[in-house]
Amino acid sequence: MKFSLVQSELYRSLQLVAGVVPTKTAAQHLTSILVEATENGELRFTGTDLDAFLVTSLHASVEQPGIAAIPARRLLEVVRELPGDVVEISSTASGISIHCGNGRFRIVGPDPQEFPPLPELNEEKIFAVSSSVLARLVAQTAYAASTDYTRPEQTAVFVHVVGGDLRFVATNGHRLAMAFHAADYPAWADVLVPTKTLAVLQRLLSEAQESVSISANKRYCLFNLGSTRLYTRLLDGPFPPYQQAIPSGCDSHADLDREVLAAALRRVTVFSESATRMVKVTIDSGRLGLAAEAHDVGEASEAVSADYEGPQFRTGFNGGYLLDLLKTMTTDRVRISFKESGAASIFEPTPLEGKPDLLCLVMPLRLQDEPARGGETVAAN
């Protein structure tokens, strides 16, 4: 293998792929980047932690096609420090040679055959989605997934198509976020995408301009961003029957200014108990009161104006959960829908026109002076 290309392009590609290469693993062969140079002048870099495979391609001057695995960290460290010149990389029996200017470097790498094979996906179940929509769907849901690996299916985002709508759903059992994009999407597989990979996807999407094609089989899902492809290993389901958790008949609504509510919450949550982060919420005619107290910290209360007419409603929420969901909304106003204390409340953005494209559900925390109700969960995390 022998090829040459400009240092900046090489460094950019390596940096991108190195994002998925594990730094601390007993599987040392995974700490390398697979470099493939093809006869038609395509250069392909692949990195993997076995959960995600990231492949990026670019054109280079390929003198001799071939394949090599190069330790990612050393390669990146060397290429970063090279002058902005043409870099020539070749593989020899004794390792990988890098020539740039007056510098000569040799890196010893593992056998490229040890590198795990790229997943094979037949691209039958495939559809395209704009990168900005995809970025929104990921950002509005991934945070709500669980980090508890004893329930692996809840550590993923459930991606599926319902009635032509593309839906992303995540839950940790105490909160749920469902974001959707209404379009005429074809019927598609139901897949559980690990949040770890979605974090990588988000980084890629921040630079992507075009639409992203998504395809999946039972084991893998492929996000094709053109010159960069991200394969993710899927989690086995089933995903919890989330639709059953969404309460119906929430006929009480309070509309608030999202920024004002978030700012008040940020202040009040400082005084919440560290274990539960409980903020007491009281919704009354024209106002929403927030209160928190921790015996070793102090107490806080604040009221914000709300469009609400009806009987008083008292409940408790994890303040952190509320802040998380408010952060993912982009509208000026937010609507809280509730039925009775002890039942989950719905938080939705209120767009100027059309239906909201996000639904967040938060289970309440039981207030100390509230009688115990059957079947409700008290979240402590």
Binding site: K24, Q28, G95, G109, Q113, E114, P117, Y149, E153, R233
Partner: protein
Amino acid sequence: MSGEPENLRLRDRLLGLDPVLDHLSRARAQNRLAQSYLFLGPRGSGKTRLALAFAQELFCGTVASPCGCCVPCRQVAHLTHPDLHLVVPATREETESPDRMAALLAAYAADPYHPPFGGAGESIGIDRVRALKEEAAKAPVAGTRRVIVLVGVDRMTEQAAQAALKLVEEPPPETLLVLAAGDATDILPTLVSRCQRVRVPPLGRERLHRVLVDEFQIPGEDAYLLAALSGGSLGQALELRGLDVRGLRDRVRAAFDFPPDSAATPAEVERRVRALERAWTGDAARIGCELLLAWLRDCVAARAGLEAADLANPDLIDEARRVGRALVPTEIGRRIRVVEAMAAALDRNCNPTLALHAALWRTAGGSGSEEGFFRP
């Protein structure tokens, strides 16, 4: 990139365990493969080699499975197959350091005849079982099958064993679990009952002797001694190979060679301790106990009229007959108990020199010496 051996067929390295692998292969051919197996056999008997050889059969992509040459076969042999997960007991330092864990696995991949664990303080903790469960929740990486090999499950912490229960009972359909341990009595019974048990017998003294001579070019007499001391376990025999076992045996034998009914002076016991104490550390002390026990049993066997071929130390048949005649059986039995007590004390991390001193004093003191010195 690097020079590779032509064939990495692990079946060829089983050295006597082929019938067990054939049994598993038949079960696979008849679609009767269990989801969880428990390989039981003494340490070093080849349970991990067997599990990996079977994994190679499952992963090999050729008709002549396993070919030993294809990419999956090579990846299994190098322990780099993405759907093969080998978990061995390790110290806390090894578990917390990926580099050390990588070195441990690389050393085993390079020399699969040595047991992959065996030191003090090695265990399988709950974090490693959780990582396995996390992995099992995902689809296999390269194909349609995943193999998890858990070696030394008798060294699992109780929390880890409890955490593994569900995984062992209901592994995902594409996952085959192979657990390996020395003895089922040291494993959580609920874990044992969830597995199909497969006995991995030691090779036996004669067979191991031939393997050591033919495959590892160990001289015949040394090989015989190693085979006898290791109880037919190839891995244990190869561990002993690095030590000067014959030299150690002769020094230990000389130190404990007291004539019957002749109480030695404290100065004489002290002299013998000094002569041996430099070599009497760690594993060498434990192996020294085994050597001494084998020698004392040989004395009983020789007294009973058994031939050299029946002894652990056939080169010492004449000496064994002489000592066997000189000491009455009850005295040999008493000396065996003294050495067994010393071995037990060493297992409890007793100071090796103190243990040696006490054992020598009791051996020299004859039947009237104090009993129960080593009792906890």
